[in-house]
């Protein structure tokens, strides 16, 4: 009997956020208005051309491409938490899996749009597919990001099927059409052993499949840089370096989302301090891995000091990008590692602050990877005005960069409003397992 009450309480608790309330409306309003402002900036860019940005012949990849790399990076977290941790049977991560998947799907879906925003002639987008060259990492990137998006959507959807049935049955205050959609999407879930087995098999297959695909998306994204011979990009470790950095960015994003959902949806019983402690350890682990790659990435060229590399490294360490570089490396990586090693900092509020630092650092890190290299081509920059070779983003460009971030927030907000962000069915099963073990 107590089990039954328990499962009813869980269902009620986790379904509670699925309703339209004032807070949601206000938040959506704020997001929509901000998005409109940013889209107006994009309209100006479409109307007047890329001249409204700070991009030019020398720095042709600016904030937009940094933003793209950041988006692809953040989307990798779905693979780490839902894929790797579930295969490693890390049960603690189960309640976070859906949050991670929602974040992954949102970032992956918008990453493609970020690239379109970097195009001077987006109307020629189809040419990428019509005339794409199979030899170009750009085509591989388009392929793997599309694949990752599909797999992420399936990875979000399949474990969700039982919960959709619960939504259709238990949600009282929803319009009939919404109930029909829930019903349709739940694919006649009736908790039979056959169905359970099918879900188990499919989830497991995807959990395995998503690992190479996720590694591919960020490795291929890194090849967009590493397959050139430019100073700062010409590196053999760029693939794993990017993947490690992606884990850092994604974990920080999940921590921030965990904190907010826990607070707003009152999920303190389901996302506990234990989860924060655990994911804090995970963040330390991936950050240390990333730090290791950072040391490698700067140590090797800095030891050899080949001419172009020497100039690049000088600009980063003590030159015009030094301030940004050290803020990024210290504030976004080294200080968070030191703090998170200490247990008192692995509590919700300190972790929110630290994760925000890490996430901002992750964005700046992409800026540091893309722009300084573009400013230092091999052929000397001469006889041109300074503004051609030194990149300064414009206001329009900044707004257009913010637009996809707002889109991600919108997608996360909407998804977290229509589906339970903590798996109900799994949580109940887990509770039952614990109960049966006690007996």
């Amino acid at each position: 009997m107590s089990e039954r009450i328990n499962s009813e309480k869980i269902t009620a608790d986790l379904l509670r956020p699925i309703r339209l309330n004032k807070g949601f409306m206000v938040w959506m309003g704020v997001l929509s208005i901000s998005l409109l402002v940013c889209l107006f900036a994009y309209f100006l860019q479409l109307r007047d051309g890329m001249i409204v940005t700070g991009l030019g012949d020398y720095v042709s990849w600016g904030m937009y491409i940094s933003n793209f790399v950041f988006f692809v990076a953040s989307s990798l977290i779905g693979m780490l938490i839902s894929g790797v941790l579930s295969l490693l049977k890390q049960k603690w991560a189960a309640p976070l899996a859906r949050i991670a998947e929602i974040i992954a799907l949102a970032f992956a879906a918008v990453a493609g749009l970020v690239i379109v925003m970097d195009m001077g002639r987006p109307d020629r987008l189809l040419n990428v597919f019509i005339h794409g060259r199979i030899q170009s990492p750009i085509l591989w990137d388009v392929t793997v990001i599309t694949s990752y998006m599909i797999v992420s959507a399936l990875f979000l959807y399949i474990p969700l099927i039982p919960d959709l049935k619960i939504c259709a049955q238990k949600l009282t205050n929803i319009p009939p059409f919404a109930r029909k959609i829930y019903e349709f999407l739940s694919l006649n879930w009736s908790d039979t052993p056959v169905q359970r087995e099918l879900i188990r098999k499919s989830t497991r297959t995807i959990a395995i499949l998503i690992i190479p695909i996720a590694l591919a998306i960020h490795t291929v994204t890194s090849w967009l840089f590493a397959n050139t011979s430019r100073a700062g990009w010409d590196s053999t470790i760029f693939g794993p370096y990017f993947v490690a950095g992606a884990f850092v960015a994604g974990t920080a994003a999940v921590i921030i989302a965990m904190f907010i959902f826990r607070k707003v949806y009152h999920l303190e019983e389901y996302i506990t301090e234990f989860h924060f402690d655990k994911i804090g350890q995970l963040l330390v682990l991936v950050s240390l891995l990333y730090l290791y790659f950072n040391v490698n990435e700067y140590m090797v060229p800095a030891y050899k000091m080949k001419r172009a590399d020497a100039f690049h490294i000088h600009e980063l360490f003590v030159g015009s990008h030094a301030l940004l570089f050290w803020i990024t490396q210290l504030g976004g990586l080294i200080i968070p590692i030191i703090l998170l090693i200490l247990k008192p900092f692995r509590k919700p509020i300190p972790m929110l602050v630290i994760s925000t630092m890490v996430l901002i650092g992750s964005w700046l890190k992409r800026y540091i990877i893309v722009i300084p290299t573009m400013e230092h081509p091999y052929l000397p920059v001469q006889n041109v005005p300074l503004k051609f070779s030194v990149y300064t983003p414009t206001l329009i460009e900044i707004l257009v960069t913010i637009a996809p971030m707002i889109m991600v927030l919108l997608i996360i907000t909407v998804l977290a409003k229509v589906i339970p962000i903590i798996p109900i069915h799994e949580t109940i099963e887990h509770q039952q397992e614990i109960a049966s073990k006690k007996k």
């Binding site: 030899q135 392929t143 399936l154 399949i158 006649n188 056959v194 499919s202 297959t205 995807i206 006889n383």
Partner: protein, 301 residues
Amino acid sequence: MNYPTKKLKSILAFSFMICFAFQSFAASWNVPEDQKTRNSYIKFDASTASQGEAIYNANCLSCHGDPGKGNNLKSLNPIPPELSSVGSQNLTDGELLYILNTGRAVMPSFKNSLSEEKMWHVISYLRGFNKNYVQTLSSFDPSKSKLVKLVANFDKAKNAFLIVAYANEKNGKKALVGSEVSLFVKRRFGNLQIDKTLKTDGSGQAEIVFPNDIPGNKTGELEVIVKLFDLNYGEVQTTSRLAIGVPTNKPGLNEQRAIWNVLEKAPYWILFLYSLGVISFLIFILYILNNLRKFRISGNK
């Protein structure tokens, strides 16, 4: 009071240095007297000016800007002069021609890329920005160049070109003495000059040694151009194809399957790996979708 004197001295020294710098800058063209006084044999008119404008826009505009608009490229050192300015217009036609011919520092020489006729067209265009300009025509008759016979024979033993130039005047052959002769090989992006420009000797001859390592086509053929300039007879050039280069038969870089080629010529291993990736992905997706189909059917029962 020692101080003001010191200051005055340094100011004087500084002004002297500036004057000296300007002096050396202005004087450094060093146009020879005989070049300075040269004049065009082409009458400058609207037609020559418009032809000159097209040449100017293609070759000069990027640095000197539109004459009269002051948009010359000021980041260069020395700054390319605004050519409608008094300073530039005070130069004689001959001096302008000399500058176009020789070039200096960032100003390239157009000797090998523009004919003298085209240079006069450019000068004609520039003179249009000077209302006070009155043209002095040269008495030179360009049709005289048709009298010139330029012969370039390749001597295999000496590995050299023996160039003979003479004019078929009414009173018989007249050797062209002291004319400038230069030899070029046509390359993809322009003409490659062989050795230096020489002057013909007393018998109107010049010898230019030809290197034996210049890549030619499959049969070693090269297109050789001989140019002659004589103050009295103008410009003459002759072109010939000779098999004196190194035979080179490399397939074009875009003929084989390669990373840099078009999609149709992609390397097999990329086609294979890419297709393998996409097909395995599709198989997995079909497997998952089939699972979902079975799932739905089993729920119906």
